[in-house]
Symmetry: C2
Subunit: 337 residues, 2 copies
DNA sequence: CTGTTAGCGCATTCAA
DNA sequence: TTGAATGCGCTAACAG
């Protein structure tokens, strides 16, 4: 019925071990033998049994994507990238959704890792910045690739220069003539919150514009928090003429507030976001934002992880490119200055 | 180091097999013994090794979610529900993304199923309607739960009465005074396309309104196709005063077209969608639509699947409730009649 | 109701 | 460069 490694060995006239060596690309097999085995593998349509492999080898050929469900779209993109890399390398992916900050979640993760003999994991923000988790993983020798972590030294994974991106984005607003520019921050424990805010500040400074604390409000990276923050900003005695929201969902919230108040975007208010998620193109007016290659980030992070799994010295922290997406939501202010 | 079933057995003073029985909820264990074992499992923090279980038991305790990536949000909700059910029952979920219609995709799936010894699968539209796939799965004895399939007899899974829902939704438009109501269909191979269109037709008929073919155009369930279809409808000599888009993404596309043309929604044009995905609340005006309990559908479908895995006779086709979500995008037509 | 034995399919010793 | 024996942790079939 099922083709086993034993069958391949018999047909190829070698031992099981030799077939195993060929399959796992171990050295020490004569070229001719290797070819013979490979052709038999092909011919019989042999596929190793993952459970047996995992049980005997103490590893699962599985990578875990651990997440806390920040932005669903973002996550989906990452997931797609991770899955892509996994398929390319005959790994599989398991999802570990967790509640960040929930009591005992670190040991929960570690325990799952052991249960499934997971070979490595990809951590998305805000987990990528969790010191406790990381030191646990390190202690247990479990490789992890980080996506957009705050600390990058000696880590593997991917990141984008979000600070510069934010600076450029706000620079566009300034270029258009805006001076009172609001900003909606993300939750504090996100590196993104920090970098985007810093970039905002950098841009103002470069243009010689004062940083006005009342123009900077807190958000949660959710649509609803964007609505609240937008109301707060537009309720100011001197409201901003432009708002840089920390991500697209919050920017969409701002646009909704504007709509409810009869303000035209971008004529009465310019709005921009960050991430270039699906929604940025699906709302009207389409949102100016910064594109991160999210899917590719998931993929590359996974590739680095797989390298490290093979060789504990390998793998690095990649910087990925970003791109401003200038769309309809920006215009000069009504009364420049 | 690792806690094994043997350790639990020793501590509980029973044999391995008894522990195994308890873990797998097999009958034939005295209540007291069961409790004792369970408490030891708890105490030692024992977790079965999936690979060993899978290897010995010829099954993986894994369920596959097979999909073709229709709407990302929809899928994510389904996935979350499936994952939820899996966790509750100590199953894990693997993702099998495929290209529907690609040459040999059926055997690709079957082969993966065998390789991983997958215990069952959840099929989302349009795969839930794939005859070839289903007969293959049936032939191989692989249980599958279907989400919103066209054919429901003798199948397990979940569905919603989309036709009635669509009728009620269009009924709302008619109630408001609309007579020229446009409809954007989905791709033909989706059951949803059919049901929603039929519901539209039913509503018109009930109200004694003629079905006008030029008011019904094709779409692809994507935002962009919604834009195109919206343009087509609004370019008519006598454009509709309301549009029922086959799903939310397309409805968002229509709203964008309206925005670009300076038409006010809902004052100049009423729009409604279907599915109640995230975008329906995030655009302005917020979209009137039909909510399907997508996440719960994923969960329930999986529960049915797990039942059938245990017992080839068990499991059924559940009908899940829907709910109209009346939001901002509807108003009476400017010139009733 | 419970325990014993064998073996799932592979990787990993070690020896040849 | 290759092969034979051992066991990964669990479940299944049978025995008690």
């Amino acid at each position: 019925m099922r083709v086993r490694i034993e069958d391949v060995a018999a047909v190829a006239g070698v031992s099981m071990k030799t077939v195993s060596r060929v399959l796992n690309r171990e050295p020490g097999v004569r070229e001719e033998t290797r070819r013979r085995v490979e052709s038999m593998v092909e011919k019989l349509g042999y596929r190793p049994n993952p459970s047996a492999r995992s049980l005997a080898g103490q590893r699962s050929y599985m990578v875990a994507l651990v997440f806390d469900n920040p932005s669903r779209n973002y996550l989906l993109e990452i997931q797609t990238g991770v899955l892509e890399a996994c398929r390319e390398h005959h790994y599989s992916m398991v999802l570990i959704p967790i509640s960040f900050g929930q009591r005992g979640y670190v040991s929960e993760i570690v325990s799952m890792v052991h249960q499934y003999a997971i070979d490595g994991m990809v951590l998305v923000p805000p987990l990528a910045d969790d010191r406790k988790l990381q030191s646990q993983l390190q202690a247990q020798g479990i490789p992890a690739a980080l996506i957009s972590p705050r600390v990058r030294r000696d880590r593997i994974g991917v990141a984008v220069d979000e600070r510069t991106a934010a600076r450029e984005l706000v620079g566009e607003l300034i270029q258009l003539g805006h001076r009172r520019i609001g900003h909606i921050k993300g939750p504090r424990h996100h590196g993104a919150c920090l970098w985007r805010h810093d970039g905002y500040r950098d841009a103002l400074q470069l243009a010689g514009i004062d940083y006005v604390p009342e123009l900077v409000v807190d958000g949660e990276f959710t649509f609803d928090s964007g609505v609240l923050a937008g109301q707060q900003l537009l309720d100011l005695a001197a409201p901003p003429t432009a708002i840089f929201a920390g991500n697209d969902d919050m920017a969409a919230g701002v646009i909704r507030v504007a709509g409810m108040r009869g303000l035209s975007v971008p004529d009465d208010l310019s709005v921009c976001g960050f991430d270039d998620t699906e929604i940025s193109r699906h709302i009207f007016p389409a949102l100016t934002t910064v594109r991160q290659p999210t899917r590719d980030m998931g993929r590359q992070a996974t590739l680095e992880l797989l390298e490290r799994i093979r060789d504990p010295q390998a793998g690095s922290m990649l910087t990925m490119p970003y791109a401003l997406q200038l769309r309809e939501s920006l215009a000069p202010p009504r009364a420049p200055g």
